[in-house]
Symmetry: C2
Amino acid sequence: MKLTPVMSKFILHWGEMGWRWGINRAVAQVHALLMLSPKALPADEIAETLDMARSNVSTSLKELNGWGLVRTVHVFGDRREHFETLRDVWEMFLIITRERKRRELDPTLAALRACATEADAGKAETDHTKARLAQLIEFMELAGNWADKAQALSPAATKRLLQLGDKVFRLTG
Amino acid sequence: MKLTPVMSKFILHWGEMGWRWGINRAVAQVHALLMLSPKALPADEIAETLDMARSNVSTSLKELNGWGLVRTVHVFGDRREHFETLRDVWEMFLIITRERKRRELDPTLAALRACATEADAGKAETDHTKARLAQLIEFMELAGNWADKAQALSPAATKRLLQLGDKVFRLTG
DNA sequence: CACAAATTTCTAAGAAGATAGAAATAATAA
DNA sequence: TTATTATTTCTATCTTCTTAGAAATTTGTG
């Protein structure tokens, strides 16, 4: 696969962006390439296109698979596995939200609750500490609830919700 | 300042969590400590409490200040600057949203638009590439609009909006 | 103004992470 | 089964990030 200047630009930027959000640069670049590719790509072609080692592509694809962002496709007359990413940006958004909640928000909430329990049990903690923990727990719980509710929506409904914009904000009175 | 086991646990977790989201571990730890502290702390006390070099604390505080998450306070009879963080979790959330949008989403949107313009001008790009860019731009624009609208809310209103929960999701029909 | 305290910037050393290639494993076809 | 191709795992190297301390600067005091 031959990259045009626009494609290169996009892939590099996406890699950079993902990296800022705690995603390995190579992983984000592979993802970006698959988004641009109209057809599923075999690993060696990805390696060649992005000029990275075949083994890194393998690791990156495994990682993306763990996120549920790529799937494997088979092509007649070709023994190699071909990889493609989701077609719908909104589905992608929902998946990333779900995964980040599961991997980061949930464990944080668990840790905060453990802290709070421990703080209530012992007598060493100040009221200030307890209050702060309670605030954070409340915040994380609400955020988590939102993420869960979003999961129940279809990608199309998610888009519609974001498009509502003003109407939502008017609810706050 | 002496840390209780609960405080240590919280600070370490917060550092880890921030790090996963692309924030320097030391920066997040300083922030966590300031959240727990009932009073503003001078830099050298932070360094001693967290067992890190004075210079790192200086850098971290500067970074947090850049985010608008800490402010400086002066104490009578003490030449040193004292630092405190925001009291309200919701205000904190709004600030972080604003800053991440400004630093990451806006530049990404700009890059995507540049890619799209370039793609339309030249003849090298496929329709698939153009369509993908358009989808991403639409998504980022909507997300950005939401972030902007949230900025207009008070911290209390933000909390209320999140508490509405179901009502919001019912809007999608 | 000179001195002292506080703070920041700079840099070199150390730690952690990413990467390429080799080796091992698995899968397919003859 | 054996040979060949595809894929993954492992590890040593390289790069990048982090950090501590020194030096420089700024700020405040007598």
